[in-house]
């Protein structure tokens, strides 16, 4: 089943000018799609239109069910007095009346989600005191509690060390295996090679297809322009300027 179907999609921030256009792709159950592109190329814009925050200016875009958004963990306020469990419980807000307490069942589910991402022992710790990788896993646990069939991950590997990165990748593989769709915006071409499809954006869609077809030097040049650095014959790397 298609979780996302976009045809010649155009979207933008002021409702008039398109910041991103000509986007045609699908996300099937159990598929992971890498979204590649330079800063300002439209990666976050695409995630926001899928969340329903931006208007569709042209074309069509259908999302089956509610998508869960996993922001970069550095974007969350680290000084809030909330524990890892408090953050995961936010995933249950949509299905609990605001005047009712989050019950024992939701707490048990939230704890189980923390266990799934390997953080069962850290439930009571302040979110802000966890490492970058642990915070990212807490945010993934929150998305899991939302029970969303589609997860939109905005540069999940930013500020994450190598060991945590491997753990995160293993978790994402598990989610894919259980049929969830993943849309992962990233700067890392090596990561993109692991996923089922790659969507290259630079204001317009440059390419969409399996990594073997979409990660050619020509397409990467068209996607990144000046930001691309070519090392030797085969390897290509990208200057990753992280926006703040």
């Amino acid at each position: 089943m298609s979780l996302v179907e976009a045809r010649d999609l155009a979207t933008g921030y002021d409702g008039l000018r398109a910041a991103l256009r000509g986007v045609t792709f699908t996300v099937q159950e159990g598929q992971a799609i890498a979204v590649l592109g330079p800063n300002g190329g439209g990666k976050t814009t695409l995630l926001r239109v899928l969340l329903g925050e931006l208007a569709v200016l042209a074309g069509t875009c259908t999302v089956a069910g509610r998508a869960a958004y996993v922001a970069q963990s550095g974007r969350a306020r680290l000084d809030f007095p909330v524990s890892a469990l408090d953050v995961v419980l936010m995933g249950a807000y949509a299905r609990t009346s605001p005047w009712r307490r989050l019950g024992r069942a939701e707490r048990a589910r939230a704890t189980a989600m923390l266990d799934r991402v390997g953080l069962a022992g850290r439930a009571g710790e302040r979110f802000g005191t966890l490492s970058g990788g642990q915070r990212q896993r807490v945010l993934i646990a929150r998305a899991l509690l939302q029970d969303a069939p589609l997860l939109l991950l905005d540069e999940p590997f930013t500020g994450v060390d190598r060991a945590s990165e491997a753990e995160l990748l293993a978790i994402l593989d598990e989610l894919r295996a259980e049929g969830r769709g993943l849309l992962v915006s990233t700067h890392d071409i090596e990561h993109a090679r692991r996923w089922d499809r790659v969507l290259c954006l630079n204001g317009v869609q440059i390419a969409f297809g399996p990594p073997g077809e979409a990660l050619t030097p020509q397409i990467l040049h068209a996607t990144y322009g000046e930001e691309l650095v070519t090392l030797g014959e085969e390897t290509v790397a990208v200057h990753a300027h992280h926006h703040d």
Binding site: P81, S83, D86, G91, Y93, R95, P98, Q146, L152
Partner: protein, 269 residues
């Protein structure tokens, strides 16, 4: 014990005590959101912005809370206009509007309406003459603080913690933000008779900012803010009565001292 109870035998002090208790509930609860959402400067500025409205209210025969709310709304609209083209930083715009409000207020008070001694009362509050209306307004705002924290607390928490994800979490982020600002304006107006336009922060900001230094959870922050606002409010009231001061400055000095001690305790911990 008598030293604590005696001052409250006078009816005017009983009214002041009731006002402080109600405002402590509102201040402690809303203060938590002010501290978390970084709205302390905004709250202080809205308080100051009500000053010209209050000066005009008496001579114009408008109810003070209505005039104060009007001035707060004008202030917020002016701030939004200054920020619209993005050339002015929000703290600079807030500062500019704050100075303008004080200047307009003092010119109106000094030269147009010749308000005289009245100005002190408007800026720093009074123990005397809190009307039934003042108490009802404080009560209503306290009830709203309890109700809103119960119903909107999750929205305010999720939106403040991770604004990008708020919508996907299913909380009404934009509506929640508007309601928060409206509630803060109401709380400021309710606090005016007691602590004055310049010192609304003493009840709405300082206690929760202090609680924030020590609290490890949302519950601790909310409860700690209310407890500190109550202790500082009642302590300041007693000091004001004893030393013949307006209550605003007395509560402010006490709140500042407690904040200093809490900051020191946190450093030593």
């Amino acid at each position: 014990m008598d030293a604590l109870v005696d001052p409250f035998s006078a009816p005017y002090m009983q009214r002041a005590l009731l006002a402080v208790v109600l405002l402590a509930v509102a201040g402690g609860l809303f203060g938590a959101w002010i501290a978390l959402r970084r709205l302390a400067f905004f709250t202080h500025a809205v308080g100051t912005a009500t000053f010209p409205g209050l000066v005009v209210a008496g001579p114009a025969g408008i109810a003070a809370p209505v005039a104060a709310l009007g001035a707060a709304a004008l202030y917020t609209a002016g701030l939004a206009r200054l920020l619209r083209d993005g050339r002015l930083a929000s703290d600079a715009a807030t500062g500019l509007m704050l100075v303008a409000a004080l200047a307009i207020g003092s010119i109106l008070a000094g030269d147009v309406f010749e308000s005289g001694a009245e100005v002190d009362r408007l800026l720093f509050g009074t123990l005397l003459g809190l009307s039934d209306g003042d108490l009802w307004l404080a009560g209503a705002v306290a009830a709203l603080a309890v109700g809103c924290t119960a119903v909107l607390g999750r929205t305010w928490l999720a939106t403040g913690f991770d604004p990008g994800a708020a919508r996907s979490l299913g909380v009404p982020a934009a509506l929640g933000d508007w309601l928060l600002l409206a509630m803060l304006a109401l709380a400021v107006v309710a606090a005016l008779p007691c602590v004055g336009a310049l010192l609304v922060s003493t009840l709405l900001v300082v206690p929760s900012a202090t609680a924030r230094l020590l609290a490890g959870s949302m519950r601790g922050l909310l409860a700690g803010g209310v407890a500190l606002a109550l202790a500082e409010g009642v302590g300041g009231l007693l000091a004001a009565d004893e030393l013949n001061l307006p209550p605003g400055p007395a509560i402010a000095v006490l709140g500042g001292a407690v904040f200093g001690l809490a900051a020191l305790a946190r450093r030593l911990r």
